[in-house]
């Protein structure tokens, strides 16, 4: 009996693990495979989107960032299309002009995108900080 019980516990454990794996896979396949849309894609599909949530990726347009009472207001662009983002909450540490960001939220009433989550989508290039040659004292 002891042996049979152990065996069934293992079988149940295996099934549980398999179910978890399938659920996670399901989440991936249900639209999350594309983690974000470009600004152009998001603007084009705006009519069909309605109030549902989406993620938009783009670069923060320099000079467009203004702090508001609830968060921050800025423009993001993919080079072709630019959209205004109204964000509620604190932006992440690496948020600044030209930073590649992914904003999560929904289209607002006006032309802007209401975001409540900003993620920085950094690249795969790494390098030491450059010495600012304009400000550094010249040697010669």
């Amino acid at each position: 009996m002891e042996r049979k019980r152990r065996r069934s516990i293992f079988a149940v454990g295996l099934c549980a693990v398999a179910v978890v794996a399938v659920i996670i896979l399901g989440v991936v396949l249900s639209g999350n495979v594309v983690y974000y849309r470009t600004v152009t894609e998001a603007v084009d599909s705006r009519g069909a989107q309605g109030d549902s949530r989406l993620r938009i990726a783009g670069a923060v347009v320099p000079g467009s960032v203004t702090e508001t009472k609830k968060g921050v207001d800025f423009d993001i662009t993919d080079g072709k299309t630019t959209v205004n983002v109204v964000h509620q909450g604190d932006p992440p540490e690496l948020f600044k002009a030209d930073a590649p960001v992914v904003c999560e939220g929904a289209w607002g009433g006006g032309k802007n995108f209401d975001s409540d989550r900003i993620m920085i989508r950094h690249g795969n290039e790494y390098q030491p900080p450059k010495v600012d040659t304009d400000k550094a004292p010249s040697i010669s």
């Binding site: 042996r3 295996l14 794996a21 932006p91 900003i118 920085i120 690249g123 795969n124 790494y126």
Partner: protein
């Protein structure tokens, strides 16, 4: 019963310690901080090597499983290597997920994202936890080795999916820096050196752990055989009916561990 001679194993152990100390020194002080991410980027020197070891461990499990399934090379050594390597692989997949999460928080701004790279890695973790559970299901050694080997080959299908997920789908996770398909140098100088040092240190650690785990598996099997032999001898010596304790011990290998 052992993978390496004791002298080789000791040398490997010392080489691992030296490499890990060198990695700590280079990772924390030798390498410059990243121009954008600052010091947070230093987590790369742990995150990338642990991910590499996870891939390597599952690759070894797959190859060993194939060698067990192939009749000409079938030997219990391959079953033991497959099991030992998968266990290390699960450990390093967990480390990769944890270190990645710690890196993601300061840089991305979130601990976790449901993007393809992160989710396929989590699936990889659960697949091999399932594989380890399957290995624990009591069965005759040959039957267990066979079903484990088949499961290992199926589970390995996720490894290339994890690796290429950042190329196939849009993810929050960045693309590969070292094995970049365009062969562009995305990381250079001391930073690249530190990354390679990390890969070396963790590969040495993997080989050392594999040897130790293999030895443990062999000793466990020995003990089971020994206890089985003792139980049979006891039964033959005593003319009466065997006690229930002796019965269950000799039948169920789980109880004798």
């Amino acid at each position: 019963m052992i993978l390496f001679k004791p002298a080789v194993r000791r040398a490997l152990g010392w080489a691992t310690i030296v490499a890990l100390i060198a990695l700590a020194l280079f990772g924390l002080w030798g390498a410059p901080p990243d121009s954008i991410q600052g010091d947070a980027q230093r987590l790369m020197y742990l995150h990338v090597p642990t991910a590499w070891v996870a891939y390597l461990a599952f690759m070894v499990t797959a190859v060993a499983s194939a060698l067990w399934l192939w009749p000409r090379t079938r030997a219990m050594v391959w079953d033991r290597v497959a099991g030992a390597s998968a266990e290390i692989g699960v450990l390093f997949t967990a480390l990769t997920l944890i270190l990645g999460s710690l890196w993601g928080r300061p840089v991305w701004g979130v601990w976790w994202a449901w993007d393809a790279r992160l989710v396929t890695t989590a699936v990889l973790f659960f697949l091999y936890v399932g594989y380890l559970a399957l290995r624990r299901v009591p069965a005759a050694p040959d039957a267990r080795a066979k079903r484990s080997a088949i499961a290992a080959l199926i589970a390995f299908a996720d490894v290339p999916i994890v690796h290429f997920s950042v190329e196939w789908w849009r993810t929050l996770h960045q693309q590969a820096s070292v094995f970049d398909p365009s062969l562009k140098a995305n990381i250079t100088g001391v930073m690249a050196l530190t990354l390679w040092l990390g890969a070396l240190a963790f590969t040495l650690l993997y080989v050392y752990l594999l040897d130790r785990r293999y030895r443990l598996a062999a000793l466990e099997e020995n003990m089971e055989e020994h206890e089985l032999a003792t139980a049979i001898a006891e039964r033959q010596a005593g003319a009466g009916t065997p006690g229930p304790a002796t019965m269950s011990r000799s039948i169920n290998p789980e109880l004798s561990q």
